[in-house]
């Protein structure tokens, strides 16, 4: 085994990779010797490391000034080996445990030991997704851990910054079409020495961000967390000895790898699983979008997952779309991270998780697609827009395996996009400001195979979801809430419905210049799905604003106000109640600034449903209607559940009428349906004629250009000639 104290880091890293290749085990650790010798000590030390991480993160959250970190926990910390593999991690935005690993490895591979040198007390920062993060607001800091002159590991921390200084305010800069408009980049830079952040770095932040206090105080919070973990690890090494630590760290990771394989064999069934989702985005005619590519996009995201006999999971994105001049591209680091965060919450929920879990998986992200752009100038500011739908499919594929194996309590229809609202301009205090509003971290979840999804309580990127307190958000922006409420019927229908979303309605207040921008909107197509007969949750809602409303006059007279857009799809309560210019906007909200007296409403997304709608419990549905999760109309029309009123006027399930209604609906289903073979014959004619919308044709043409397999499967399915091709655009 390589001398771990004398050789340069780069050699150590290469040696570690070679040993993994040769032995199939992490760093050549074929035996968990320390675990065998004293399992209690082994587990205790792992728990200690995890406690260091959790404690450091909680401490750092109290240093941060950002409501994103303080309120909704947009932060994660981890401890790494010298080669950059995660040993232990905290809760929080765990996607970045593995993206930070890529950052450390990138520095090692790029000769940072020689220049700018890696010394005790150094602080390195990065938010370049092609080096190792997901998007520009995810800024990571790492510090090396030296013990008696030897590099023994790294401590790292990530916060999602609420403002990144891009072309539009916030961090998920939807208007960015290339890297150059995404905001302030810190590309694997040494930003501090001797445990102190450099003044020139702080000045750069102060002069390039709309709201530098968030970024700069978060830097301090992260550095504090890193130093805290570093000192704890050094104390631990002084207790167990350096040699023991070096072996221990490696065994933890190899144990994590083996645990992941064992867990897959325990919970699933080997085989091939397939699924897909889509994303439809509209920017045509919106101000600011440069004509670099098509204004409207339809992306297909097909995923094939293989569970192999040894328990290894292989994900394949072959057949998906090329990267584009939009902000939704993703880098390999982001794709890795998405898989890591999904695995940690969906399979490795015992806490003993680290980069070993990642090593028990494989991923094929074809070069040139949005998953792995062949141009590093591609923007990734809103890569979650495609990542979340993609890893929602992954959750449904895994869930099919859980259902097959009998672990129905773990089956979960999965994560969804949760559109973000960001803002900037003049604050209610008369100062410049910029902020991402993170209440989106509380969407509806997909249903489970045994119960409804979580209402307003889940997002894929942070399993500790939280919408934050209204009062805290109001302190930080020139808008006050006039409503925050459940959106009825926003969960996908099914035997178990998806979790419902909520919508917020704000009154713009005490400002004459407020830019509002939103992102992650798939308005034209579903970007989520149901499972086993459940329907997808609705597509992303359009925005509704009232410019120059008469709300102040109404309030002065004590008249009733509208607090939500309501449930009538044709006429909203805002139109009924408020005078002013009624504005409806599809997709990202890119428009002229708002001012005091305007009203703005923004809805988040619900999750997909599970099982046949006609099996939904009528009694539970009555409760849903009473509490605003479903409307009476949906109960009858979608679920076939007839409700009557009890003596006090509350909804009560009419079981006999429901049975009769459902019998009728089943008959209607069969009367309307046709054999699939008949449908295929009819649709094949349409496919041969290429009778599709422009965006659909473009999607097929792009997929076929990039993927021989997609082309072959498409032609085989529809019985097309070998020379069939989608015509080029005029």
């Amino acid at each position: 085994m390589l001398d771990r104290t004398a050789n340069p880091l780069r050699e150590r890293l290469l040696e570690s990779e070679r040993l993994m290749e040769e032995t199939g085990c992490y760093d050549g650790i074929t035996e968990l010797t320390l675990r065998r010798q004293d399992p209690l000590k082994f587990e205790t030390l792992h728990t200690k490391l995890r406690a260091y991480c959790v404690s450091a993160r909680e401490m750092a959250r109290r240093i941060s000034a950002s409501p994103g970190v303080r309120e909704v926990g947009e932060m994660v910390v981890a401890i790494y080996t010298p080669e950059g593999d995660a040993i232990a991690l905290s809760n929080g935005i765990m996607v970045h445990v593995h993206t930070m690993s890529r950052f450390i490895k990138w520095m090692i591979k790029n000769g940072y030991e020689e220049n700018p040198c890696i010394r005790d007390g150094d602080i390195f920062a990065n938010n370049d997704a092609f080096i190792g993060t997901v998007q520009v607001p995810d800024v990571m800091d790492v510090v090396p851990i030296f013990y008696e002159g030897t590099l023994v590991g790294w401590a790292g921390a990530v916060c999602h910054e609420l403002e990144a200084g891009g072309i539009t305010p916030g961090g998920d800069v939807c208007l960015a079409q290339e890297r150059f408009t995404e905001g302030l980049f810190v590309c694997a830079e040494k930003v501090g020495e001797n445990d102190e952040i450099r003044r020139d770095y702080v000045i750069r932040c102060e002069r390039n961000l709309r709201m530098p206090i968030y970024w700069v105080l978060d830097e301090k919070a992260k550095v504090a967390a890193c130093i805290d973990m570093r000192e704890s690890v050094k104390q631990l090494i002084s207790e167990v000895g350096l040699e023991y630590w070096q072996r221990l760290a490696k065994e933890f990771i190899e144990e994590g790898r083996r645990a992941q394989l064992a867990r897959t064999r325990q919970l699933t069934v080997p085989g091939i699983y397939r699924g897909h989702t889509f994303y439809g985005h509209v920017t045509e005619g919106k101000p600011g979008f440069q004509p670099l590519g098509p204004p409207n996009w339809l992306y297909n995201i097909p995923i094939e997952m293989e569970i192999k006999s040894d328990g290894k999971i292989r994900m394949d994105f072959d057949g998906t779309q090329p990267w584009g001049y939009h902000s939704m591209n993703c880098t390999p680091a982001g794709m890795d991270g998405g898989m890591f965060v999904t695995l940690t919450q969906h399979m490795n929920f015992e806490g003993l998780v680290n980069d070993g879990a990642w090593m028990a998986t494989e991923i094929n992200i074809p070069h040139g697609t949005w998953t792995n752009p062949d141009n590093e100038m591609a923007a990734t500011a809103t890569s979650w827009a495609l990542l979340l739908p993609a890893y929602g499919v992954f959750q449904r594929l895994l869930s099919r395996g859980f259902i097959a194996r009998g672990f129905v309590e773990e089956a979960f229809v999965g994560q969804v996009n949760s559109p973000m609202i960001e803002m900037g301009g003049t604050s209610q205090y008369g100062t410049q400001f910029g902020m991402a509003h993170f209440e989106c971290a509380a969407a509806g979840s997909g249903a489970l195979a045994i119960k409804d999804g979580l209402d307003t309580a889940y997002v894929g990127w942070n399993p500790e979801s939280d919408m934050g307190n209204i009062e805290i958000w109001e302190q930080n922006m020139p808008m006050v809430y006039i409503g925050r409420s459940i959106v009825p019927n926003s969960g996908g229908a099914g035997k178990y419905r998806g979790g419902c979303a909520f919508a917020s309605t704000w009154l713009i207040n005490k400002t004459e210049h407020l830019r509002l921008v939103t992102s992650e909107h798939s308005s034209r197509v579903f970007d989520n799905g149901g499972l086993c007969g459940g329907y997808p949750a609705p597509t992303c809602e359009k925005h509704h604003a009232v410019r120059g409303s008469d709300i102040f006059e109404k309030a002065a007279k004590g008249e009733a106000l509208a607090h939500t857009p309501g449930t009538d799809p044709l006429v909203s309560d805002f139109e009924r109640r408020y005078k002013g210019e009624q504005v409806f906007e599809e997709g990202p909200y890119i428009t002229k600034p708002h001012k005091s007296g305007d009203i703005f409403s923004h809805a988040y997304n619900g999750g997909g449903g599970f099982g046949d709608v006609l099996e939904r419990d009528p009694v539970k549905t009555a409760w849903d209607v009473e509490n605003g999760f479903l409307t009476r109309e949906a109960a009858e029309q979608v679920f076939g559940i007839i409700l009557k009123d009890d003596a006090e006027g509350y909804p009560l399930a009419d079981i006999d009428a429901t049975v009769a209604r459902r019998a009728e609906m089943r008959k209607a289903r069969l009367a309307r349906a046709i054999p699939v073979s008949e449908w295929i014959a009819r649709e094949a004619t349409r496919v041969k004629k290429q009778d599709f919308a422009l965006e659909v044709t473009r999607m097929y043409r792009s997929a076929m250009q990039l993927s021989p397999r997609f082309t072959r499967e498409f032609k085989d399915f529809w019985g097309l000639d070998a020379d069939y091709a989608f015509a080029g655009e005029k």
Partner: protein, 165 residues
């Protein structure tokens, strides 16, 4: 290691187990005999005798039958050889108009039917809705799951399946 009664597993599968108990099962180490009890619970639920080999959906199973290993609806309808996509032998209803989409989404904004349709796959015998696909027009029907049935029984369960005719 955890172990639960067949009755507990039955209630869990039916979604009737009280939440505190369900929560404890979710938090505990998994029970090694789950698959056998699960299959037994499902076998009790169906009216037919052929042995269930593997569930592949909520009410959809691979079973051993006189016609070989087939995918079968809980009602007894057979969708044919388990290695082929059962959806191809289902009946389908497609929602690709605003009106038909509005029936499922009464209040919300709708997808553009030119960009996306909803495909409902029903059992032709009992009209159970087994799967819903949301796909662009012209997108091939997905074969959701091709289990390695032989390998699963042989290598993971340690009880190889009997040869089929």
């Amino acid at each position: 290691m955890s172990a639960y009664s067949k009755e507990t597993i039955r209630e869990l599968v039916d979604g009737t187990l009280p939440w505190p108990q369900t929560r404890r099962i979710m938090s505990a180490y998994k029970d090694d005999d789950r698959f056998a009890k699960y299959i037994s619970v499902l076998q009790d639920r169906v009216a037919w005798e052929d042995p269930i080999l593997l569930p592949v959906g909520d009410r959809l199973f691979i079973c051993d039958s006189a016609e070989g290993r087939v995918t079968r609806c809980e009602c007894g309808h057979s969708f044919g050889d388990y290695r082929k996509n059962w959806k191809l032998n289902a009946v389908i209803s497609v929602r690709n108009t605003q009106e038909s989409l509005r029936e499922i989404y009464p209040n919300s904004d709708l997808p553009d039917p030119e960009w996306m349709e909803i495909r409902e796959f029903f059992c032709p015998q009992c009209a159970h809705l087994h799967e819903v696909e949301a796909a662009a027009p012209g997108y091939p029907i997905v074969h959701d799951f091709q289990p390695d049935l032989e390998g699963f029984y042989r290598d993971w369960l340690g009880t190889p399946l009997k040869e089929t005719a």
